[in-house]
């Protein structure tokens, strides 16, 4: 078992990880920038170390300062949370080289899944369906022409070294493709120092469905799926589990394929295999694997009763996987919404400021994962996530009713938040019927955003 854990993150996820560690009797070290000295994660950790100025690259991305803080406090392990250094293979290796346990997979597994072409190849080799397209890098237009006869159009031309939506071009026919391909290669070379390209078919109407996996480096299990189709600019805003779109047969195939991939890369810790799912063909396609705990992990915890962060800490401490697949059973339905410091009526303009008063929702089957407290000033330097409101119910309809009840209880004064968005979505017939896809929310916002005015009390 780990003895002393340094949490290399901030905000709600730092609070979440510190709580899980303390529940297991592991001592905790918080790190913080100059802007976060009064943060909740600093207050609740057993120790705290200042690792630099507000800019993330001088503090939360500063590997040398974080490793120094671990050495000075005698920590034996580092949890990266999500974002920042969580999917940085070199940091995972640097932790190991410094004699520390990195809570997560090996640097090698992070590296394989971080290279989009290598990840596609690994998925293909493990028998996981990938989005139709090239199996590896595409050398030239001649090679692409053959492949395009199979995939058809439209296709995305993607940079092998890209990610996060960068370095992508869409071609609707062969003429567009032939014009775009050399440009994309030159851009990729300039932006990433690697002109390698690969090609994927554009799947126009799909759901985002992802599978939670847990591995110990030898074996792996899944904790069923989450659906996160409600997205704005590729950012998830509402997540739920299970997905009502899947038949039991498809659900089993999807979850089994995620386990195969996790086993194939010797995955250790909590991870997520992401897919696009097409309702009409009932086909799913691998998009990527996130080699870390995810923002929306609590919906899985609510339907399975498993503490995923705690399991990750146990595995990092050397315990074999405790859970057998047959023991991981789904109960009811869970929904999470992300309360962000943004004004949904004004194109989601960010709204940092001071929480003048706070009323947290409660009651059975309601979780409020947050770093907020009355008087806390939300700094402008980091992301806008204030709280995750997570609810559970026997059915999806019961979960939505509980979500509305809990949202009405919630008051975060002094800031504008995305709360009105979720009250409106919960009342929308398409959301109630789960008749959505990944582009649905953006279209809905075009006609509905003007009336999502946050109540505001300074």
């Amino acid at each position: 078992m780990l003895k002393k854990l340094l949490v290399a993150n901030r905000g709600e996820i730092a609070v979440r990880v510190i709580r899980a560690a303390q529940d297991l009797g592991i001592a905790t070290v918080a790190v913080h920038s100059d802007a976060d000295a009064a943060s909740l994660h600093v207050q609740i950790a057993d120790e705290a170390v200042n690792i630099g100025p507000p800019a993330a690259k001088k503090s939360y991305l500063n590997q040398a300062n974080i490793l120094k803080a671990a050495a000075e406090t005698g920590a034996d392990s580092i949890h990266p949370g999500y974002g920042f250094l969580a999917e940085n293979a070199d940091f995972a290796d640097a932790c190991v080289a410094a004699g520390l346990v990195f809570v997560g997979p090996s640097g090698e597994a992070i590296r394989t899944m971080g290279d989009k072409v290598a990840a596609r190849s690994a998925a293909h080799a493990a028998g996981v369906p990938v989005v139709p397209g090239s199996t590896g890098r595409v050398a030239d237009i001649e090679q692409a022409r053959h492949m395009l006869m199979d995939t058809g159009f439209p296709v995305m031309i993607k940079a092998a070294a890209g990610g996060g939506g960068r370095g992508i071009r869409i071609a609707n026919d062969l003429a567009e493709f032939e014009a775009a391909f050399p440009q994309a290669a030159a851009e990729a070379q300039a932006a990433f120092g690697d002109g390698g390209l690969y090609i994927e078919k554009v799947i126009t109407r799909a759901r985002h469905i992802e599978v939670q996996v847990l591995g110990d480096g030898r074996d792996a299990v899944h904790c069923w799926e989450r659906e996160c189709s409600l997205q704005r600019r590729r950012q998830k805003v509402w997540e739920e589990a299970p997905s009502t779109a899947l038949s039991d047969r498809v659900r089993d195939e999807l979850c089994q394929s995620a386990v195969r991939l996790a086993r194939a890369v010797g995955y250790s810790g909590a991870g997520t295999v992401e897919f696009l799912y097409d309702d009409e063909t009932e086909q799913f396609h691998f998009i990527e694997m996130n080699t870390r705990i995810q923002v929306e992990h609590p919906v899985t915890e609510m339907i399975t009763g498993i503490d995923l962060v705690a399991e990750g800490l146990r595995i990092a401490g050397g315990e074999p996987l405790r859970l057998k697949q047959r023991d991981i059973v789904v109960r009811g339905h869970a929904i999470e919404v992300r309360l962000n410091a943004e004004d949904p009526s004004r194109d989601f303009a960010p709204f940092p400021g001071t929480v003048s008063a706070l009323r947290v929702p409660g009651g059975p089957e309601v979780r409020f994962e947050s770093m907020l407290y009355a008087g806390y000033t939300v700094p402008p330097f980091y992301d806008s996530l204030l709280a995750k409101l997570v609810v559970h119910g026997e059915t999806r309809a019961a979960a939505i009713a509980r979500l509305v009840r809990a949202l009405k209880e919630t008051r975060i004064e002094g800031l504008r938040t995305t709360r009105p968005l979720f009250l409106a979505l919960a009342g929308d017939p398409a959301v109630q019927a789960n008749a959505v896809h990944t582009r649905w929310l953006e279209g809905w916002l075009d006609t509905h955003s003007a009336r999502l005015v946050p109540e505001f009390q300074p």
Binding site: A349, P350, P380, S384
Partner: protein
Amino acid sequence: MAQIQSPLPGTFYRASAPDKPPFKADGDAVAVGDVIGLIEVMKSFHEVRSDVAGRSIRFVADNEEPVMAGAVLAEVD
């Protein structure tokens, strides 16, 4: 002398990207509406435009440094 203040709290950038030249160098002339920098607030970027004109700008705030709303970014003569 006039001042250009930050409309938002966040991180001030003098260029559109680390490998790009700054929008304005010290001593450059400024027209009303010229972009003089960016403020990053919670991972979104907002252009800072000058509401004054002058023959010479001098930056007070440093590149990539935190600023509060109302902080003076630059002075214009």
